[in-house]
Protein backbone atom coordinates (compact mmCIF):
# COMPACT_ATOMS: atom_id res chain seq x y z
CA UNK A 1 0.00 0.00 0.00
CA UNK A 2 2.86 2.34 0.90
CA UNK A 3 4.62 1.57 -2.33
CA UNK A 4 1.40 2.20 -4.26
CA UNK A 5 0.95 5.63 -2.62
CA UNK A 6 4.65 6.40 -3.12
CA UNK A 7 4.48 5.68 -6.80
CA UNK A 8 1.19 7.61 -7.03
CA UNK A 9 2.96 10.58 -5.51
CA UNK A 10 5.77 10.29 -8.05
CA UNK A 11 3.24 10.26 -10.86
CA UNK A 12 1.45 13.35 -9.52
CA UNK A 13 4.72 15.22 -9.12
CA UNK A 14 5.78 14.35 -12.65
CA UNK A 15 2.43 15.50 -14.05
CA UNK A 16 2.43 18.77 -12.14
CA UNK A 17 6.02 19.54 -13.07
CA UNK A 18 5.25 19.71 -16.79
CA UNK A 19 3.52 22.53 -18.58
CA UNK A 20 0.68 23.60 -18.59
CA UNK A 21 0.16 22.69 -14.92
CA UNK A 22 3.65 23.87 -13.99
CA UNK A 23 2.98 27.25 -15.54
CA UNK A 24 -0.31 27.50 -13.69
CA UNK A 25 1.22 26.71 -10.31
CA UNK A 26 4.13 29.07 -10.81
CA UNK A 27 1.79 31.81 -12.03
CA UNK A 28 -0.26 31.52 -8.86
CA UNK A 29 2.88 31.67 -6.73
CA UNK A 30 4.13 34.77 -8.51
CA UNK A 31 0.94 36.72 -8.07
CA UNK A 32 0.63 36.13 -4.35
CA UNK A 33 4.03 36.85 -2.83
CA UNK A 34 3.24 38.01 0.69
CA UNK A 35 6.21 39.63 2.38
CA UNK A 36 7.34 39.11 5.96
CA UNK A 37 8.58 42.52 6.98
CA UNK A 38 11.70 41.82 9.01
CA UNK A 39 12.87 45.35 9.63
CA UNK A 40 16.29 44.74 11.05
CA UNK A 41 17.50 48.32 10.52
CA UNK A 42 17.01 51.55 8.58
CA UNK A 43 16.08 50.12 5.17
CA UNK A 44 12.68 49.37 6.61
CA UNK A 45 11.72 52.99 5.98
CA UNK A 46 12.06 52.49 2.24
CA UNK A 47 10.16 49.23 2.44
CA UNK A 48 7.35 51.14 4.13
CA UNK A 49 7.48 53.69 1.33
CA UNK A 50 7.27 50.92 -1.23
CA UNK A 51 4.12 49.55 0.38
CA UNK A 52 2.63 53.02 0.19
CA UNK A 53 0.19 54.37 -2.35
CA UNK A 54 2.70 55.73 -4.87
CA UNK A 55 4.47 52.46 -5.68
CA UNK A 56 1.53 50.19 -4.97
CA UNK A 57 2.90 46.65 -4.80
CA UNK A 58 -0.61 45.26 -4.49
CA UNK A 59 -0.93 45.29 -8.27
CA UNK A 60 1.73 42.54 -8.18
CA UNK A 61 -0.10 40.63 -5.49
CA UNK A 62 2.14 41.72 -2.61
CA UNK A 63 -0.41 42.44 0.03
CA UNK A 64 0.61 44.63 2.93
CA UNK A 65 2.62 42.57 5.39
CA UNK A 66 0.17 40.68 7.54
CA UNK A 67 2.63 40.20 10.34
CA UNK A 68 2.58 36.44 10.63
CA UNK A 69 5.41 34.39 9.18
CA UNK A 70 3.21 31.34 8.74
CA UNK A 71 1.28 33.15 6.03
CA UNK A 72 4.14 34.77 4.16
CA UNK A 73 6.45 33.36 1.54
CA UNK A 74 8.88 36.19 0.94
CA UNK A 75 11.36 37.20 3.63
CA UNK A 76 12.77 40.68 3.16
CA UNK A 77 15.84 41.19 5.29
CA UNK A 78 16.05 44.95 5.43
CA UNK A 79 19.24 46.35 6.77
CA UNK A 80 22.11 45.27 8.97
CA UNK A 81 21.89 41.95 10.76
CA UNK A 82 23.63 42.08 14.11
CA UNK A 83 24.91 39.05 15.96
CA UNK A 84 22.09 39.38 18.45
CA UNK A 85 19.51 39.44 15.67
CA UNK A 86 20.94 36.53 13.66
CA UNK A 87 19.28 33.86 15.75
CA UNK A 88 15.89 35.52 15.28
CA UNK A 89 16.37 35.81 11.51
CA UNK A 90 17.01 32.08 11.38
CA UNK A 91 13.96 31.37 13.53
CA UNK A 92 11.74 33.46 11.26
CA UNK A 93 13.17 31.76 8.16
CA UNK A 94 12.56 28.30 9.57
CA UNK A 95 9.00 29.12 10.59
CA UNK A 96 7.99 30.07 7.08
CA UNK A 97 6.37 27.27 5.08
CA UNK A 98 7.78 26.13 1.73
CA UNK A 99 8.14 27.51 -0.94
CA UNK A 100 9.94 30.54 0.48
CA UNK A 101 12.23 33.14 -0.97
CA UNK A 102 14.64 35.65 0.54
CA UNK A 103 15.58 39.10 -0.68
CA UNK A 104 18.55 40.82 0.96
CA UNK A 105 17.77 44.52 0.85
CA UNK A 106 20.40 47.17 1.26
CA UNK A 107 24.16 47.28 1.27
CA UNK A 108 24.35 46.13 4.86
CA UNK A 109 22.50 42.88 4.22
CA UNK A 110 24.48 42.20 1.05
CA UNK A 111 27.98 42.72 2.37
CA UNK A 112 28.14 44.72 5.57
CA UNK A 113 27.83 48.14 3.97
CA UNK A 114 28.61 51.26 5.94
CA UNK A 115 29.19 49.34 9.16
CA UNK A 116 31.40 46.59 7.81
CA UNK A 117 34.10 47.09 10.43
CA UNK A 118 31.80 47.04 13.42
CA UNK A 119 32.29 44.60 16.27
CA UNK A 120 28.72 43.42 16.38
CA UNK A 121 27.40 42.76 12.88
CA UNK A 122 27.37 39.92 10.40
CA UNK A 123 28.98 40.63 7.07
CA UNK A 124 28.21 37.42 5.19
CA UNK A 125 24.54 36.73 5.58
CA UNK A 126 24.33 34.11 2.85
CA UNK A 127 26.13 31.61 5.07
CA UNK A 128 23.15 31.67 7.44
CA UNK A 129 20.16 32.00 5.13
CA UNK A 130 20.02 31.24 1.39
CA UNK A 131 19.45 34.46 -0.51
CA UNK A 132 17.71 34.67 -3.88
CA UNK A 133 18.04 38.32 -4.86
CA UNK A 134 20.43 41.03 -3.65
CA UNK A 135 19.39 44.67 -3.81
CA UNK A 136 22.25 47.14 -3.38
CA UNK A 137 21.70 50.69 -2.22
CA UNK A 138 21.86 52.67 0.96
CA UNK A 139 18.86 52.65 1.13
CA UNK A 140 17.73 51.29 -2.24
CA UNK A 141 14.99 53.28 -3.87
CA UNK A 142 11.53 51.70 -3.77
CA UNK A 143 11.72 51.32 -7.55
CA UNK A 144 14.88 49.22 -7.11
CA UNK A 145 13.11 47.03 -4.59
CA UNK A 146 10.16 46.53 -6.91
CA UNK A 147 12.62 45.67 -9.66
CA UNK A 148 14.09 43.03 -7.37
CA UNK A 149 10.63 41.58 -6.83
CA UNK A 150 10.14 41.43 -10.58
CA UNK A 151 13.47 39.61 -11.00
CA UNK A 152 12.40 37.18 -8.30
CA UNK A 153 9.21 36.52 -10.22
CA UNK A 154 11.26 35.68 -13.31
CA UNK A 155 13.25 33.25 -11.21
CA UNK A 156 10.12 31.61 -9.78
CA UNK A 157 8.62 31.28 -13.23
CA UNK A 158 11.57 29.20 -14.35
CA UNK A 159 11.95 26.90 -11.37
CA UNK A 160 10.41 23.49 -10.72
CA UNK A 161 7.34 23.09 -8.60
CA UNK A 162 8.81 20.22 -6.54
CA UNK A 163 12.57 20.79 -6.30
CA UNK A 164 14.65 17.68 -5.53
Amino acid sequence: MGIWIGSLREIVEKVVDTPPLKNLVNWSRIYSLWPAHLMTACCGAEFGAMMGPRFDPERFGMQSAVGSMRQSDLLLIEGTVTKKMLKRVKVVYEQMPNPKYVIAMGDCACSGGLFHDSYSIINDLDKAVPIDVYVPGCPPRPEALLNAVLKLREKIRREEVYPK
Binding site: K84, D117, Y119, S120
Partner: protein
Amino acid sequence: MTEVFAKEQGIAAAIKEKLGDTVEEVRVDRMRRLSVVAQKETVKHVAASLQSLGLDHTLAVSGVDYPNENRVDIVYFLSSYSRDDLKDIVLSLRVKLDRENPSTPSLTPIWESSNYFEREAWEMFGVNFEGHPNLQKLLLQDNWDGPPPLRKDLKIPELA
Protein backbone atom coordinates in the same frame (compact mmCIF):
# COMPACT_ATOMS: atom_id res chain seq x y z
CA MET B 1 36.67 86.32 21.84
CA THR B 2 35.94 86.52 25.53
CA GLU B 3 32.36 87.12 26.48
CA VAL B 4 31.00 87.57 29.93
CA PHE B 5 28.17 85.13 30.49
CA ALA B 6 26.50 86.84 33.38
CA LYS B 7 23.72 84.38 34.05
CA GLU B 8 26.01 81.37 33.87
CA GLN B 9 28.53 83.07 36.17
CA GLY B 10 25.75 83.73 38.66
CA ILE B 11 24.74 80.08 38.70
CA ALA B 12 28.37 78.98 39.05
CA ALA B 13 28.81 81.32 42.00
CA ALA B 14 25.69 79.91 43.68
CA ILE B 15 26.97 76.37 43.23
CA LYS B 16 30.42 77.23 44.59
CA GLU B 17 28.83 78.88 47.59
CA LYS B 18 26.61 75.90 48.36
CA LEU B 19 29.13 73.15 47.79
CA GLY B 20 32.38 74.77 48.81
CA ASP B 21 35.17 72.25 49.13
CA THR B 22 33.30 69.14 48.12
CA VAL B 23 33.85 69.96 44.44
CA GLU B 24 37.19 70.30 42.76
CA GLU B 25 36.20 72.78 40.11
CA VAL B 26 33.23 74.82 38.87
CA ARG B 27 33.63 76.40 35.44
CA VAL B 28 31.67 78.19 32.73
CA ASP B 29 32.68 76.66 29.36
CA ARG B 30 30.62 78.64 26.88
CA MET B 31 27.08 79.97 26.57
CA ARG B 32 24.66 77.81 28.56
CA ARG B 33 27.28 75.22 29.50
CA LEU B 34 28.68 74.75 32.99
CA SER B 35 30.88 72.01 34.32
CA VAL B 36 31.58 70.68 37.80
CA VAL B 37 34.27 68.18 38.74
CA ALA B 38 33.71 66.08 41.86
CA GLN B 39 35.40 63.23 43.67
CA LYS B 40 33.78 59.84 43.76
CA GLU B 41 33.57 59.95 47.55
CA THR B 42 31.51 63.12 47.57
CA VAL B 43 29.59 62.76 44.31
CA LYS B 44 26.36 61.67 46.01
CA HIS B 45 26.34 64.70 48.27
CA VAL B 46 27.09 66.98 45.31
CA ALA B 47 24.31 65.38 43.29
CA ALA B 48 21.77 65.83 46.08
CA SER B 49 22.70 69.51 46.39
CA LEU B 50 22.41 70.03 42.65
CA GLN B 51 19.01 68.42 42.70
CA SER B 52 17.86 70.73 45.46
CA LEU B 53 19.07 73.66 43.36
CA GLY B 54 16.56 72.64 40.68
CA LEU B 55 18.34 70.28 38.28
CA ASP B 56 15.81 67.50 38.13
CA HIS B 57 16.75 65.11 35.34
CA THR B 58 19.72 63.66 33.48
CA LEU B 59 20.14 64.34 29.79
CA ALA B 60 22.89 61.76 29.31
CA VAL B 61 25.64 59.84 31.05
CA SER B 62 28.81 59.25 29.11
CA GLY B 63 32.13 57.62 29.76
CA VAL B 64 35.44 58.73 28.31
CA ASP B 65 38.50 56.50 28.32
CA TYR B 66 41.96 58.04 28.73
CA PRO B 67 44.45 55.16 28.66
CA ASN B 68 47.44 57.53 28.59
CA GLU B 69 46.41 59.11 31.88
CA ASN B 70 45.20 55.79 33.31
CA ARG B 71 41.71 57.04 34.04
CA VAL B 72 38.12 56.61 32.96
CA ASP B 73 35.77 59.57 33.41
CA ILE B 74 32.05 59.38 33.90
CA VAL B 75 30.20 62.56 32.94
CA TYR B 76 26.59 63.27 33.92
CA PHE B 77 24.74 65.96 31.95
CA LEU B 78 21.97 67.61 33.93
CA SER B 79 19.19 70.01 33.15
CA SER B 80 15.87 71.16 34.54
CA TYR B 81 12.23 70.93 33.53
CA SER B 82 10.68 72.62 36.52
CA ARG B 83 12.74 75.80 36.93
CA ASP B 84 12.41 78.31 34.13
CA ASP B 85 15.77 79.99 34.67
CA LEU B 86 17.62 76.69 34.50
CA LYS B 87 15.78 75.22 31.51
CA ASP B 88 18.44 76.18 28.99
CA ILE B 89 21.50 75.26 31.04
CA VAL B 90 23.40 72.02 30.68
CA LEU B 91 25.61 71.23 33.66
CA SER B 92 28.12 68.43 33.31
CA LEU B 93 29.16 66.63 36.49
CA ARG B 94 32.41 64.75 36.02
CA VAL B 95 33.90 62.02 38.18
CA LYS B 96 37.40 60.78 37.51
CA LEU B 97 37.99 57.09 38.19
CA ASP B 98 40.94 54.76 38.19
CA ARG B 99 41.17 52.76 34.99
CA GLU B 100 42.06 49.40 36.51
CA ASN B 101 39.04 49.06 38.73
CA PRO B 102 36.57 51.86 38.11
CA SER B 103 33.74 52.02 40.56
CA THR B 104 31.47 54.86 41.63
CA PRO B 105 28.21 55.20 43.54
CA SER B 106 25.18 55.05 41.30
CA LEU B 107 23.10 58.22 41.06
CA THR B 108 19.92 56.37 40.08
CA PRO B 109 18.38 56.79 43.54
CA ILE B 110 18.68 60.56 43.08
CA TRP B 111 17.85 60.86 39.37
CA GLU B 112 15.73 57.96 38.13
CA SER B 113 16.45 58.99 34.55
CA SER B 114 20.09 57.83 34.87
CA ASN B 115 19.03 54.18 35.09
CA TYR B 116 19.50 53.01 31.50
CA PHE B 117 22.46 55.33 30.88
CA GLU B 118 24.44 53.86 33.77
CA ARG B 119 23.64 50.38 32.56
CA GLU B 120 25.07 51.24 29.18
CA ALA B 121 28.19 52.80 30.72
CA TRP B 122 28.73 49.64 32.76
CA GLU B 123 28.49 47.54 29.64
CA MET B 124 30.58 49.72 27.38
CA PHE B 125 33.32 50.86 29.76
CA GLY B 126 33.34 48.29 32.55
CA VAL B 127 32.53 50.84 35.26
CA ASN B 128 30.78 49.42 38.32
CA PHE B 129 27.93 51.51 39.70
CA GLU B 130 27.43 50.64 43.35
CA GLY B 131 23.79 50.47 44.31
CA HIS B 132 22.34 50.33 40.82
CA PRO B 133 19.10 48.31 40.84
CA ASN B 134 19.67 46.30 37.67
CA LEU B 135 23.17 46.06 36.15
CA GLN B 136 22.58 43.71 33.23
CA LYS B 137 23.48 43.62 29.57
CA LEU B 138 21.53 46.08 27.51
CA LEU B 139 22.90 46.33 23.99
CA LEU B 140 25.55 43.71 23.39
CA GLN B 141 24.90 40.13 22.35
CA ASP B 142 24.57 37.55 25.11
CA ASN B 143 27.85 35.73 24.46
CA TRP B 144 30.09 38.80 24.20
CA ASP B 145 33.49 37.82 25.48
CA GLY B 146 35.78 40.70 24.57
CA PRO B 147 36.85 43.77 26.53
CA PRO B 148 34.28 46.52 27.11
CA PRO B 149 33.85 47.83 23.56
CA LEU B 150 34.25 51.55 24.03
CA ARG B 151 37.59 51.27 25.78
CA LYS B 152 40.55 52.02 23.60
CA ASP B 153 41.77 48.40 24.04
CA LEU B 154 39.34 47.17 21.40
CA LYS B 155 40.72 48.27 18.08
CA ILE B 156 38.80 48.27 14.85
CA PRO B 157 40.63 48.51 11.52
CA GLU B 158 41.08 52.13 10.52
CA LEU B 159 40.22 53.16 7.02
CA ALA B 160 42.93 54.76 4.97
